[in-house]
Assembly symmetry: C2
DNA sequence: GTACGTGCAAAGAATTTGCAGATAA
DNA sequence: TTATCTGCAAATTCTTTGCACGTAC
């Protein structure tokens, strides 16, 4: 469940000192649930924070992930993307446009055990690939032309 | 189910012309089920094929993936790894040593629909992160010292 | 004033591209 | 011979690192 905590409260909870830059990145993640990449975040914030550097975005995201305030997704081949929603949910990658969408978690038939073949399971990911509804529409239109 | 098809047969089936390099890469994947990276493959084959280039390994892997003869996994942050087993199974990434292990697929309570929120699902991935049995052993030993 | 944060520039790593020579149908 | 394949070198992209300056307690 996504709470209404402000960026400030989330940083406090994660024990991250709330600099202007960190608040901006956290706030961006809260307001943009479309799984932005480092570049997305940097490009969007840069106009209003001209001195912001990509290094700081990288630093901040690492802090957020380490502090449990965000999730890093490595679904895409080339770059990581980030998600302020750290609750269990699934992800869908469109093979056409490369966008990542949230999906509800699909229940497993049985509970995932803490340990499998001696390995301790700490995190569970579900993800799917296919064609998103927008690209399907686009492709349909092309056929009609 | 993993079949006993030789590299040659798999390439034929995928309509990939069986050059020496392609057979070597395919065969490597068949014989090494530990999810090798491009570099693993290149470094291992290079001694016996001194003229082999990384470009060719990249080219070949792309052909194999496109032809359905191998799977590319983007679990790891920095590089992709490859798996000749294209049947449904889950993967486990050890956060300590970075190794990727196979796991049996966990059944979902319900069948995954072909379409969710308008998106067409074509591929389903399950993966887990945690500490593998080998790293757990190592950590236990350290505590005993 | 000391520790922490920021951002530039450079380095590093993974992957892709362009292209010329080699190989195979 | 003609299309395909290979592999070098260079380019590109993503990310990390080193370091000097700035900021905050």
């Amino acid at each position: 469940m996504i709470t209404n905590m402000t960026a400030r409260k989330i940083l406090d909870k994660a024990d991250i000192r709330p600099s202007v830059q960190r608040l901006a990145v956290m706030n961006y993640l809260i307001e943009h649930r479309n799984h932005p990449t480092v570049d997305d975040i940097f490009s969007s914030l840069s106009p209003s924070m001209p001195t912001l550097s990509k290094t700081t975005v990288y630093n901040t995201l690492r802090l957020l992930v380490d502090g449990g305030a965000a999730q890093m997704l490595t679904i895409q081949e080339h770059n990581s993307c980030f998600d302020a929603d750290t609750t269990p949910h699934a992800h869908f990658l469109c093979k056409q446009c490369g966008r990542v969408f949230d999906m509800n978690f699909f229940d497993f038939k049985d509970r995932i055990p803490d340990e499998v073949e001696g390995h301790s399971i700490e995190e569970t990911y579900q993800f799917f690939k296919g064609t998103c509804r927008y690209c399907k529409n686009k492709m349909n239109k092309q056929f009609k032309d």
